[in-house]
Symmetry: C2
């Protein structure tokens, strides 16, 4: 149930003292091979953190041998000094593990705009290298937590091979790839092209459809590393399916641990003219603060859903829209349908269905409600 479940990986998580809380904050994951195939997707934010700028170079050739991750600081908007910190981290890992720095992915998470303490980080990396073990996956998953209340791990298996994953993320969960740190390992034998195709296919319908608060991070990274240690080369479709399940599971764990959320909301848009239309409509609803606050108040205010749908360019006729919440069709043909009194929003899970009646495509976007606790946590984060 962790990243060291697949054969060929060691990991560790240690405390370097980067976080005021004093909990563990440096994680290291090493791929002992025989293969070093890797694929990675990064934030599409144009203001990328230094570790992202570095790691894009590392994974450009479809290979990576290790990833070092720290919480306690995003190392973003920290200029050349921050980039040197990232580079020094990769050099130190490389030196300790006998590889090139260009094989070491670096990920950071935490507050933007502060320099990381390079001495503390280096000492942490030394300890993490010492602590590497085939049972260290969960320690690594714990060391990458920031405002997460629990670590996030997942695992699926195929015929003779395994995929394991870990993730961190509880805020700034929004689109256009990743939006969190995720490391996925597998002992399946993959070539670079298959790894890349499978990772993009999996993230497109999982992490990319998570929109907790509309805010896109500068540090998002989803890394897949293959050791090939199982000796088994899986069918690409089967591997992609299992990988997608791991990504979906981790995405749902992120959703259910989103900062201050009381409700997990699945917005399913059906009968759209295109998948893009369905995604656009779902994302628009997921970004309506008014709708999200209403869900927090257990108020099935479907007018706020329609007001959001109306801001999109999707194909639909306003007078034909149907909307359901938790299975109750409270709007039919653009008019009041079944009584909103029938909608029970006491459970954490909420489903919204928007029927565009314009085609056959569909998509689901996942989001959270807007709560007092979200405001509290995000008004006090850096202070």
């Amino acid at each position: 149930m962790t990243i060291t479940s697949p054969q060929g990986f060691r990991a560790s998580g240690v405390t370097a003292g980067l976080k005021a809380s004093g909990t563990s904050d440096v994680a290291l994951v090493v791929n002992d091979g025989p293969s070093d195939v890797a694929a990675c997707v990064y934030t599409s934010n144009r203001c990328k953190a230094n570790p992202v700028l570095w790691s894009e170079q590392v994974t450009a050739d479809g290979r990576a041998k290790a990833v070092v991750l720290n919480s306690g600081g995003a190392n973003c908007y920290t200029g050349p000094e921050g980039f040197q910190t990232t580079h020094a981290s990769a050099e130190l890992v490389a030196e300790r593990l006998g590889m090139g720095a260009i094989d070491v992915v670096v990920c950071s998470t935490g507050l933007i705009g502060d320099q990381l303490d390079r001495d503390k980080l280096s000492a942490g990396i030394e300890r993490a290298a010492d602590a590497l073990s085939a049972g260290g996956g969960t320690a690594a998953a714990e060391a990458i937590m920031t405002t997460d209340t629990r670590s996030k791990e997942s695992e699926r298996s195929g015929d003779g091979w395994t995929v394991g994953g870990m993730a961190k993320g509880a805020g700034m969960l929004a689109p256009a790839l990743a939006t969190m740190l995720v490391v996925i390992t597998t002992d399946a034998q993959l070539d670079s092209a298959v790894a890349d195709r499978a990772l993009r296919a999996a993230t497109r319908v999982t992490f990319d459809r998570l929109d907790s608060d509309g805010c896109m991070s500068t540090n998002d990274t989803v890394l897949l590393m293959s050791s090939g240690a199982s000796g088994v080369k899986p069918d690409e479709a089967v591997f992609t399916a299992r990988l997608t399940e791991v990504c979906h599971d981790l995405a749902q764990q992120l959703l259910s641990d989103a900062e201050g959320a009381d409700h997990d909301i699945a917005i399913e848009v059906v009968n759209a003219a295109s998948e893009d239309d369905a995604v656009e409509v779902g994302r628009s609803v997921a970004r309506s603060n008014l709708f999200k606050a209403a869900v927090f108040g257990k108020d099935p205010n479907w007018g706020r859903i329609l007001a959001s749908v109306g801001t999109t360019g999707a194909v639909f006729e306003p007078g034909e829209l149907d909307v359901a919440m938790n299975g109750v069709w409270i709007c039919r043909g653009g008019e009041p349908g079944d009584s909103r009194e029938l909608v029970d929003l006491n459970e954490r899970e909420v489903s919204v269905t928007v029927d565009l009646k314009a085609g056959t495509e569909s998509a689901t976007i996942w989001t959270n409600d807007l709560t007092h606790a979200y405001v509290h946590e995000n008004s006090a984060y850096s202070t």
Copy 2:
């Protein structure tokens, strides 16, 4: 200081019983001429309320003689029955005032998805017609309030003529025109083309740049009516300037009364390659819940500003951006600048300046912070 300040207008505000609070809820404004020139801009939401669908027909010829407005219900997503309610309101006003229904603009505001009580509304319109007076502007401004805590009025004068305005709006304040109900009167002599040009020019840089919570209403209407009763035909540029001042004043009043807000935030984007770029960047920052929650917490978290800037397509180099809050340049050249400790966020007014260093254009977007009170008010609105 109200819509009946210009000559040639009468107004009233009465209680029809549409609002549970029992405060006044029907307003009527009549243009007694001699001119009946009018211009109007409406929400760009594709899910338009019935009164918007009706009023678009009324103002299509650049003329209107009266406007009837109600709070206590948006009459949106209420189907043909709701449209008939709007039409019946216009018919009743027309009958009482001796004009055609096609000269009567109708505006509604309140909860989406509920039918208005047509009998109560009709009785209210009768009383509003009886109550019309040349001193009734403020009563009208009070009758259109929903969650507003105060009425909003403004006035400017030219050489022999006057512009008066009233507005309602405290939530769903977002782009793409209006996003509230606004009635502006003038006794200046205008032809339809001038009225339309002046209104579009004024709203483009005022109401259109207000983005309180990113949510676009279905009912937004900004109506300008000219009586011509002053007998003075103003210079178009001067009239446009005064009209823009009235719109700016009303927009600022809307901002300062936004639901649950503790801070009014002006986001100025300077040295942009184009005005569109400046608006896109400003709006992106204005829609960051994380940034808005940080301002509520008096936390000058500039990383959240840059993370939002990075999601746009505007021309800029990430490593060249400067950002100031309340005049303190906390980010210079994409790195930490002056100490964030120097930024005092205790006052209600907050200024953010983003220097894109990509050109000479600029724009300001106005927004509010994200507070516990916003969540509270919007989680309890319809219940």
